[in-house]
Symmetry: C2
């Protein structure tokens, strides 16, 4: 597995290059914390984006869905793809409109996918997606049947060309603005769970497991 992604013409960060990160640790951690990727492909010269969940297993991303899903079919056919994941960590409030910004961690990856056909790899991939979103849940829910797996299209996209961009810290200000009696700083943003809402048919006495009631992103390390 890649320890560092080699910057390419497509992944070398040109704007605000000091925010660039090419190490696999940073890239993987962003994929692991985020829940959704925005996935772009081209149809007749027109860009399309589809939001999708996924799992990262070592150096590969897995996506899955129904066989009729045209975005997935496009990926499975090897169309060039751009995958973007963004975690918004805070709003950067400056003393001036101009210097407002955001603290974020983002990844962009370019590549091509292929359909996963091996039944064991398919099963591992779809279970990895559930584990990515709700760590611990595959150990308590019913596993996929053979029929369910056959109706599922699983696509792998090896992470070959990727880079991360990270902004942290306070606003950058014009020196003259520092004398203004205006508050400036960072308003952190967090994704937090509410109270679990049980399905109407949950059997009496069945309560949500701890990995649901104690849910957090990034996932706690077990």
């Amino acid at each position: 597995m890649t320890a560092t992604f080699e910057p390419t013409a497509r992944t070398k960060v040109r704007r605000k290059a000091d925010r660039a990160r090419y190490d696999a640790g940073t890239v993987h951690a962003i994929f692991d914390e985020a829940l959704l990727a925005h996935v772009a492909f081209v149809v007749d010269g027109q860009p399309w984006i589809v939001p999708m969940t996924y799992a990262r297993v070592d150096g590969t991303l897995y996506f899955h869905g129904a066989r009729a899903n045209h975005a997935l079919k496009s990926l499975a056919a090897g169309a060039p793809v751009c995958i973007s994941v963004t975690l918004l960590d805070g709003l950067v409030l400056s003393r001036s409109s101009f210097h407002h910004s955001m603290n974020y961690r983002s990844v962009v990856a370019f590549g091509t996918g292929y359909e996963v056909v091996d039944p064991e790899e398919k099963l591992a991939a779809v279970q990895a997606v559930v584990e990515h979103v709700v760590p611990g849940n595959t150990s308590v829910v019913r596993a996929p049947t053979g029929a369910e797996l056959r109706t599922t299209l699983v696509v792998a996209v090896p992470l070959v060309e990727a880079s991360a961009k990270v902004r942290t810290g306070p606003p950058v200000e014009e020196p003259d603005d520092l004398a203004l009696p205006i508050w400036a700083g960072v308003l952190p943003l967090h994704t937090v769970p509410g109270e679990p809402v049980p399905d109407a048919d949950v059997l009496a006495g069945v309560t949500p497991p701890r990995h649901v009631t104690a849910y957090a992103r990034p996932a706690p390390v077990h």
Copy 2:
């Protein structure tokens, strides 16, 4: 302004069509609550995605950034663009791996942009972006100077072709799975602010305004 977007070959929701929404009220509310859009364009047949913030003013989206920003330059030149905004409302936990899902509200829009050159419209657009992210803040911070506006590229994308997709509610289950003693339901997710972190140089006695300490998405109606 459009009250309902006419579904086109590109925006008509084909998969899970019962989740489709074409009314401008739904589309606009999703744009207004989200903070980031993922914006895709094509370079030499390759899709690119850039995450960007924005503002919606009536039926137009505004993006801005430095003149050297290649994504913005591409938009300003009228490249076909796909804009995707996704709000993740909850994790849908089923009794089976197969029926796990997510509750979300998403919009996809296709169109082309143009550079905003009129100084008044540019000023209104950049201030609208700050107001979109932190409602109330343009009334307390220093407004952009003419020089700052000249270094800023502002792009407008009229919302002509757009659709929303919304999933709500509990998991869809296989009838046989309802007898399983497994918890199922929805884990809601919320974006919430932490405590404001003041910049090191904030003048003594200057405290964060109420629109910062009471920050919430969607923005409270004033």
